[in-house]
Amino acid sequence: MTENINTLLIGGFSSGKTHFGAQLLARLQKKSGELELREAAPSVALFEEALTRLAAGMSSEHTARQMFGDIKIPTADRSGRGIDLIWPEYGGEQVDDIASKRLISPRWRKRTRECDHWVLLIRLLHIKTEDDLVSRPLDKLYTERRQADNRPKENAFNWSSQALLLELMQLLLYVREQSTCRRLYRPKLLVLLSCWDEMPVTKMTIPGSVLASELPMFYSYLRANWDEDALTICGLSSLSRNLKPDVPDPEYVDRGPEAFGYIVLPDGTETSDLTLPIARLAVGSKL
């Protein structure tokens, strides 16, 4: 029996969606993980550019803002259960626009309603954290506020990154007509803290704790609204290192992109199997 797993991948500008999609495809082709390709994918055109760039040891170009498509990947898990993974690819600005403009396009609305498996990519290094009493003592607050009063009013207020993230999740749930009176069991949510290799963390750091310390309000929101069994927080490094867009990395060319990339599981252990969290998300079992 084959199951259709329609994935809603949520990730803003430069959150690492394309690299993850391309590396996931490469892992599925390699057939060494929890999920593997059952037959040749119908078309890898959406990820061809990224796959080619990675094979040449360079990072891929930014995905065009208007791009929106998906690829159906026929996979099977270790028990032989067929899972057709529907994996999207799009310009990340579309997600940023949903939260900041509070507008959702019909195709995003459709996808939000149809998908019961959500993957949220957050690149913490690109997240702006707000100052608090520790990082900005009260005396500074007073002088800065006086300076702020002299600035033009339209620049006076900006949403913080975690407020925008929270707004985005609430908006998507609203569009889905999903009540949060009870903790959510659907959609299942996998939070991937992307580009983990660029974070100043040690081995065995627990991704959930990193999210809690960097984005405490958002973390509390997730814990308060999702059932414990339906929420997983992992670290993700799709490439293991920072590739340049114009200078090939010779080790990448010789060992191949499939030799790089890892996932930090909720308990802090690392695995090179990028398909593992997706497989568990698909079958609904905890990591």
């Binding site: 082709q29 040749a40 796959l51 080619t52 094979a55 040449a56 040891g57 060319v253 010789d254 191949g256």
Partner: protein, 119 residues
């Protein structure tokens, strides 16, 4: 046909990727038909890591495919071997019993003697 020159050059990463994608596509369409992988221009030295990765991919996706290396360079020194490989390849291609192909009976509706030959 795997081009050893492409796999030994600067763009070997991209070439390897396209051969892997091609092998996947072939594996999905070949069913039980015989497949032979020809490593052409085999006088070019493919870096060990690149060759191993492609071999592993081919072995996993086309496990029943046989392989042969051919090259036309250096045939003076190695003429016999090069000729033997080409001859083996051609005879394999032309072996209907091996390919389990039925011999088609021609039934041409043509006045042309050339097309009518064999009817």
């Amino acid at each position: 046909m795997v081009d050893s020159e492409a796999l030994s050059g600067e763009e070997r990463g991209q070439s390897l990727l396209s051969y892997k994608l091609l092998a996947d596509r072939l594996a999905a369409e070949a069913f039980d038909r015989p497949v032979r992988i020809i490593w052409s221009k085999s006088d070019f030295e493919i870096p060990e890591g690149t060759k191993e990765r492609l071999k592993e991919h081919l072995a996993r996706n086309l496990p029943n495919a046989s392989q042969i290396s051919v090259s036309v360079v250096g045939s003076h020194e190695n003429g016999g071997k090069a000729r033997a490989h080409f001859a083996e390849l051609l005879s394999w291609l032309l072996e209907p019993a091996l390919m389990e192909l039925p011999c088609a009976k021609s039934n041409p509706h043509s006045e042309d003697f050339f097309l009518g030959f064999g009817s």
